[in-house]
């Protein structure tokens, strides 16, 4: 039943890993985290490979103050919140957007930020606020939405931004040096936009292998194989095994549009604090689209719920099942921290699919 090519790749992987010391690779992207678990590929990896989930889940890395600001804006009169589905359940200090909706706030799930612009156009009497979370792949859409709102002459469309850049977060983790990382499985779809050369600082400054991979089992296995090969060769290169979608130059059109609307800015990450030039904010010319300005809301301080290890989990310092709340007080039906909410959050993936896809399961009776 096992497709031959997967079997072949697993054999290759076992062969290249043979007699090597234990290695730890970070899959930066939350979609990789989910794909590894859902496809069962995680259970096929040799014992000397450990995967560490990185800070690549946009819902999870947004600081708590951001969630609170979103909820505060949601309770304003004549205001509509538009959001990607995952943000809905993230708990803030005073509840989640889902709870705000139950209390009567107008909170809608949209597929695309353009849907939010359309809604603003159709309802000039309401302020429409788009919850703009995401990495490079997603922020292009936010920039396009701002341009579209401008073209339509809308003064009732706003972004509440928590937009992040991948490479600065990788650099911050490496600079801190607390987590031992032997290489990065780089996010395929972020790389579609930024191109392979974006990872140059990781390779040059920290001499860590970077392999860009897609999300199918074959791609992920090949990515790991190439990382192991680099480790064995003591090499640190950027490899792109996802040339289907990732071009050498990235997507220059998208980059240009992003840069037209946003500018690099210091940005606050959950539990990691402020990382220099790790986010994207609206340029001065587009300030009128900034929800924080319009509603005069401040992002409050970041904090974790007592006992919640999300901050540590995000940085690969703690495994989900080692959090004292995991599967006991914190579960997808009652999430304490955001990692249990986002479908790509490490804790949610570990809960849903089993910690490593094997019988050493995540159910509470079996924990520890």
């Amino acid at each position: 039943m096992i497709p031959n090519r997967i079997q072949d790749l697993v054999q290759t992987l076992n062969r290249v890993c043979d007699s090597l010391a234990p290695m730890a690779f970070m899959e930066v992207c939350g979609t990789h985290t989910v794909s590894f678990q859902r496809s069962g590929v995680k259970s096929l990896l040799p014992d000397n490979i450990r995967l560490i989930s990185g800070p690549g889940c946009p819902v999870c890395v947004s600081p708590q103050g951001y969630i609170d600001a979103a909820c505060e804006i949601a309770s304003y009169p004549a205001t509509t919140i538009c959001t990607y589905g995952d943000m809905l359940r993230v708990p803030g200090r005073h509840g989640s957007l889902l709870q705000k909706r139950a209390d009567g706030a107008d909170v809608r799930v949209v597929y695309s930020p353009i849907d939010a612009v359309r809604l603003a156009d159709e309802h000039p009497e309401r302020a429409v606020v788009f919850i703009a979370v995401g990495f490079e792949t997603t922020v292009g859409g936010h920039a396009a939405a701002v341009l579209e709102a401008q073209d339509r002459g809308l003064d009732n469309f706003f972004l509440l931004t928590s937009q992040k850049l991948v490479v600065p977060a990788m650099m911050a983790l490496l600079a801190e040096g607390e987590v031992c990382i032997d290489g990065f499985l780089c996010p395929g779809h972020v790389s579609v936009i930024i191109g392979p050369n974006a990872y140059v600082p990781v390779v040059q400054t920290h001499r860590k292998p970077c392999v860009i991979a897609g999300f199918e089992p074959e791609q992920m296995l090949r990515g790991i194989i190439q990382l192991v090969r680099q480790v064995a060769q003591h090499a640190a290169r950027i490899e792109n095994i996802y040339p289907v979608a990732v071009r050498r130059e990235g997507n220059p059109v998208a980059v240009r549009i992003i840069n037209e609307v946003f500018e690099p800015a210091d940005s606050e990450w959950r539990a990691m604090g402020t990382i220099p030039v790790s986010g994207l904010s609206l340029r001065t010319e587009y300030q009128q689209f900034d929800a924080l300005e319009r509603f005069d809301v401040d992002l409050g301080p970041d904090y974790d719920a007592p006992g919640c290890c999300c901050g540590q989990v995000l940085q690969g310092k703690v495994e989900p099942r080692d959090c004292p709340l995991f599967a006991i007080e914190c579960s997808p039906s009652n999430p304490i921290g955001p990692c249990m909410v986002g479908s790509e959050g490490s804790c949610a993936a570990a809960f849903k699919y089993g910690h490593d896809g094997t019988r050493r399961a995540c159910i509470s009776s079996d924990r520890r």
Binding site: R118, V200, I238, N240, A245, P264
Partner: protein, 95 residues
């Protein structure tokens, strides 16, 4: 962090309610269709394959490559050697 799915562009149109003149297209994912904004793939035309994320086509891809991406879903059997990959050495950086 970013779910993107390849689909085939079956028609390209100027958005009727947009003044921006940016094309949108209908993308077919094996029977399910969605309107995608083509601002980041200005050269995409009918019949091309695109990778779609949150309502935006973020890259054009070749048809064979697209089918390759879907192929893992349909359990086929073949064997191939792992190619040696290109070493993309630094030439510049994001912005």
């Amino acid at each position: 962090m970013c779910l993107a799915v390849p689909g085939k562009l079956i028609d390209v149109k100027r958005s009727p309610d947009s003044t921006s003149n940016i094309a949108t297209g209908t993308v077919d994912f094996q029977g399910t269709r969605v309107d995608a904004n083509l601002i980041f793939t200005p050269e995409a035309k009918e019949g091309d394959w695109v990778l779609v994320h949150a309502g935006f086509a973020i890259q054009q891809i070749s048809e064979t490559e697209a089918i390759e991406t879907w192929r893992y879903l349909d359990v086929g059997e073949f064997k191939e050697e792992l190619p040696e990959f290109e070493d993309t050495r630094p030439t510049g950086e994001w912005r």
